[in-house]
C-alpha cells in the first residue's frame, strides 16, 4: 500500500485485490481465452460448473472441454477471427452435477478484442427445473380434464346438452320461446 492515494480513494493494490475478489465471487462462470482456446483467466464459478467435465485435466485449453459439451462453439470462436462482439446467442448444455443429476448451463462467447474472447457460463438449472415442473403440472391437469366424470359428480346437464344448466345457445333459446 503506497499511501499516496487521495483520501477516500483506494490505491492500486487495494483496487486489484478488490477486483480479484469481485472476479472470484462472481456467480457467473467467466473465461478469457484466445482464438485457439488457450485459457488466460478463469473464475472459480466456471471451474465449479465445469469440474465434472474437466476431470483430472488441467484446463490450460478450453477447446477439449467444449469439444465434449458444445463442439459447434469451437468453430464459432476459431473461425472469423475479425468478428467482434457477441459470437453466439447462448447455447444450452447439460453436465453431470451430482451422483444422479445434471445441471443445465448456458454458454455464450463474446470477442472483446482481437485475440481475446470472453466465454460466459450461466447456470440455468433452476429455470430448467421450473419449466419441467410446469410441463408436469400441465400434463397432470390435462389428464384430469380428460378423465370421464363419475355419475352425479359433474354439473347438471341442460336439456339442450350445452353443459350449462338452463342455458343453451341463443338461437335454440329463441326457437324454444317461439
Amino acid at each position: 500500500m503506497s499511501g499516496d492515494a487521495p483520501p477516500g480513494r483506494r490505491d492500486d493494490a487495494q483496487e486489484l485485490q478488490d477486483l480479484r475478489q469481485f472476479f472470484y465471487q462472481c456467480p457467473v462462470g467467466l473465461f478469457e481465452i484466445d482464438d485457439d482456446g488457450l485459457v488466460y483467466k478463469v473464475n472459480p464459478a466456471a471451474v465449479a460448473m465445469l469440474a465434472p467435465a474437466i476431470g483430472s485435466g488441467d484446463l490450460a485449453k478450453l477447446f477439449p472441454i467444449l469439444d465434449q459439451l458444445a463442439p459447434q462453439m469451437i468453430s464459432v470462436i476459431s473461425q472469423d477471427r475479425a468478428r467482434m462482439g457477441p459470437l453466439a446467442a447462448g447455447e444450452r448444455i447439460l453436465i453431470p452435477a451430482e451422483a444422479h443429476g445434471v445441471s443445465s448451463l448456458e454458454i455464450r462467447a463474446v470477442r472483446v478484442a482481437a485475440g481475446r474472447v470472453m466465454v460466459v457460463l450461466l447456470d440455468v438449472s433452476a429455470e430448467r427445473r421450473l419449466a419441467a415442473e410446469g410441463d408436469r403440472l400441465f400434463v397432470r391437469k390435462r389428464r384430469l380434464m380428460r378423465r370421464p366424470l363419475r355419475p352425479g359428480t359433474g354439473p347438471k346437464q341442460s336439456p339442450s346438452g350445452s353443459g350449462r344448466p338452463g342455458t343453451g345457445c341463443r338461437r335454440c333459446r329463441r326457437s324454444r320461446l317461439a
Binding site: 472459480p44 464459478a45 471451474v47 465449479a48 469440474a51
Partner: protein, 128 residues
C-alpha cells in the same frame, strides 16, 4: 505438541497425515510445505497457511472467519469437494482439481481430510 521447537515436517501423501494435522497448533501451519486450509464443521476458515496465501494472492486476514466454499474457494462449491465434507464425518480422499489462483487455471492435487468428532477439517493442496 509437547516439543514446540521441533519443525513441522509433513508429507502430503503420508497415510498418517490426518493424525499429524490434528496435533498441530494453528499458529504453526505456516511451517508446512504444502498449501493447507483448515475449516470448521460450518465451513468457516480457521487456518490458512502462508503457502496457500502466497499462491492464491489472498491475505490470511481476508480469509479467516469466512466460509471457504462460498467466499474464498467457490470453485470447490460442488459435489466433488464441498459436498464430500458435508456428507462425510470422516474423510481422507484425494482428487485432481483445478484452482483459480490469481485468476489463472492451476492444476492441483487436493487431499480432503476430516476425523469423526473433530471440530477441524482440512483441505491440503499441492501443485501437480
Amino acid at each position: 505438541m509437547t516439543n514446540s521447537a521441533a519443525s513441522v515436517c509433513l508429507i502430503f501423501d503420508d497415510p498418517g497425515l490426518l493424525e499429524n494435522l490434528e496435533t498441530i497448533p494453528l499458529d504453526r501451519i505456516d511451517e508446512i510445505g504444502f498449501g493447507l486450509i483448515v475449516i470448521n464443521r460450518s465451513g468457516e476458515v480457521t487456518g490458512y497457511n502462508a503457502s496457500e496465501s502466497k499462491r492464491s494472492g489472498l491475505a490470511v486476514e481476508r480469509v479467516l472467519g469466512r466460509n471457504f466454499f462460498v467466499d474464498v474457494g467457490p470453485c470447490t462449491n460442488n459435489y466433488l469437494v464441498a459436498q464430500r465434507f458435508l456428507d462425510c464425518d470422516e474423510l481422507d480422499e484425494q482428487l485432481d482439481y483445478v484452482f483459480t489462483f490469481r485468476m489463472a487455471p492451476t492444476p492441483v492435487r487436493l487431499r480432503m481430510l476430516a476425523r469423526a468428532g473433530s471440530p477441524r477439517q482440512y483441505l491440503a493442496v499441492r501443485s501437480r
